[in-house]
């Protein structure tokens, strides 16, 4: 990945917000890549999980929010269980989704889910999906 760094970006208040919401220590990550190796959905992601943390360490939050990675994460928590440094990436992904959704934007629109799907999907799928992807 090639990114241009500036001092303003490194001092990004959204990063503080991510740390506050997630309670995770972004700077403990030493890029071993175990989260990406174990992630069951990383093959569908624009950028892999460990790169998300790397970008956050450099304040590059916009670089992440325009990618699909945070919306592919299924919160299975495998990354957090395996991280040798105890960085809870599942909480960081949640914080990223919250930063996006709190601008009053939905990622999934419940009224666009086809009727026949609503009839067959289990409630837990719908509630979980809307919890994660709507504000």
């Amino acid at each position: 990945m090639n990114v241009q760094l500036s001092s303003e970006e490194l001092d990004n208040e959204d990063i503080d917000k991510i740390i506050e919401i997630s309670g995770a220590n972004l700077f403990a990550c030493y890029q071993c890549g175990k989260c990406t190796a174990g992630c069951p959905t990383s093959e569908f992601m624009d950028i892999p999980p460990h790169e998300v943390i790397r970008l956050l360490q450099f304040g590059q939050i916009e670089e992440i929010l325009c990618k699909n990675t945070l919306w592919i994460c299924a919160s299975c928590i495998t990354c957090a269980v395996r991280c040798p440094k105890g960085v809870d990436l599942s909480k960081i992904m949640e914080a990223l989704r919250q930063i996006f959704l709190r601008k009053n934007v939905n990622y999934v629109h419940p009224n666009e889910v086809p009727n026949e799907e609503l009839q067959t999907l289990p409630q837990i799928a719908l509630i979980a999906n809307f919890r994660k992807f709507t504000h």
Partner: protein
């Protein structure tokens, strides 16, 4: 006779009905009285991981309050997502004094506070192990089959994060295998037993779920399983319903029925009417008949 409080959650009343029906009949036979909480709340299905938003913790905590008010310590939960959400909300209240006070202050109209240690959220598998005992359960087994091979699938929400895992090992759990072994049911090892099925992505990104479930199913089939068992209504749905698409799109794809743990156990202790087989996309009856478990 044992009596236990029970929180079903939303899905066990609809697409997961087979799970609840078979559990109720199984526990009745095992002399356990199951009392559903009179006023339970939707758990929210996924634990809210945003530390600055406590609103999402209120519903699970209120359910735990109702459980506390029954005066019984155990709260039986079947659904993996309810289990995860309730356990994590409980842990939050137990370990974070500031948040505990905030939540209790907000719920000032409730008759009592919740401190986090009054109730034990217990999953069906742990309940069977600790309160019934696998040996007692095995004594009730009246059907014998020599060659039904079951692939026990755990999914995520019973195991992760580690603090709330139903098994000592969240990487390589064995409680379901132990249960089946005790009951004389063969199980196969398959390396995808704790891999995510794609979960709620089934609403808007079906391709992810299809990709995940095909790997899990193929792994079970390649390890010679006749059946996958699970205890999560969402894993069940994803694993069962995706097989129709896989049959249409993957040449040579081999289907495998998916059943809830309690459905299998009910069958082995001789309860034949616990399950509505028409709810399965992949009908388990041919396999069950072949193995002599259904007449």
């Amino acid at each position: 006779m044992l009596t236990v409080s029970y929180m079903p959650g939303c899905t066990l009343k609809t697409t997961g009905r087979n799970y609840e029906d078979s559990m109720l009949k199984l526990l009745y036979k095992l002399n356990v009285k199951v009392e559903e909480l009179k006023n339970w709340f939707c758990c929210g299905t996924t634990y809210s991981m945003a530390s600055d938003n406590l609103m999402n913790q209120l519903a699970p905590i209120r359910t735990l309050l109702r459980a506390k008010q029954t005066g019984r310590r155990e709260l039986l939960v079947l659904c993996s997502m309810c289990y995860n959400t309730l356990r994590r909300a409980q842990d939050l209240v137990l370990h974070d004094e500031e948040k505990r006070n905030k939540i209790n202050e907000f719920m000032y109209l409730e008759e009592t506070n919740f401190n986090g240690d009054e109730v034990r959220v217990i999953h069906l598998l742990n309940y069977l192990k600790e309160f019934i005992g696998f040996e007692t359960l095995a004594d009730g087994i009246i059907k014998k089959t020599s060659d039904l091979k079951v692939a026990p699938y755990y999914g995520c929400m019973l195991l992760r994060p580690e603090e709330i895992s139903i098994d000592e090992s969240s990487e390589n759990p064995g409680i379901m295998e132990e249960l089946f072994q005790a009951c004389g049911i063969d199980n196969v090892y398959f390396p995808f037993k704790t891999e995510c099925c794609g979960s709620y992505q089934t609403v808007n990104k079906k391709d992810i779920v299809i990709s995940r479930t095909s790997k899990i199913i193929n792994s079970a089939v390649n390890n010679k399983a006749d059946m996958i068992t699970t205890s999560c209504p969402l894993c069940y749905f994803n694993l069962d319903s995706s097989q129709g698409t896989l049959v249409d799109n993957v040449p040579g794809f081999k289907t495998i029925p998916v059943m809830y743990v309690s459905q299998i156990l009910a069958l082995f202790v001789g309860i034949e009417d616990a399950t509505d087989y028409s709810m399965h996309s992949i009908d388990p009856r041919p396999v069950l008949k072949e193995k002599g478990l259904l007449g």
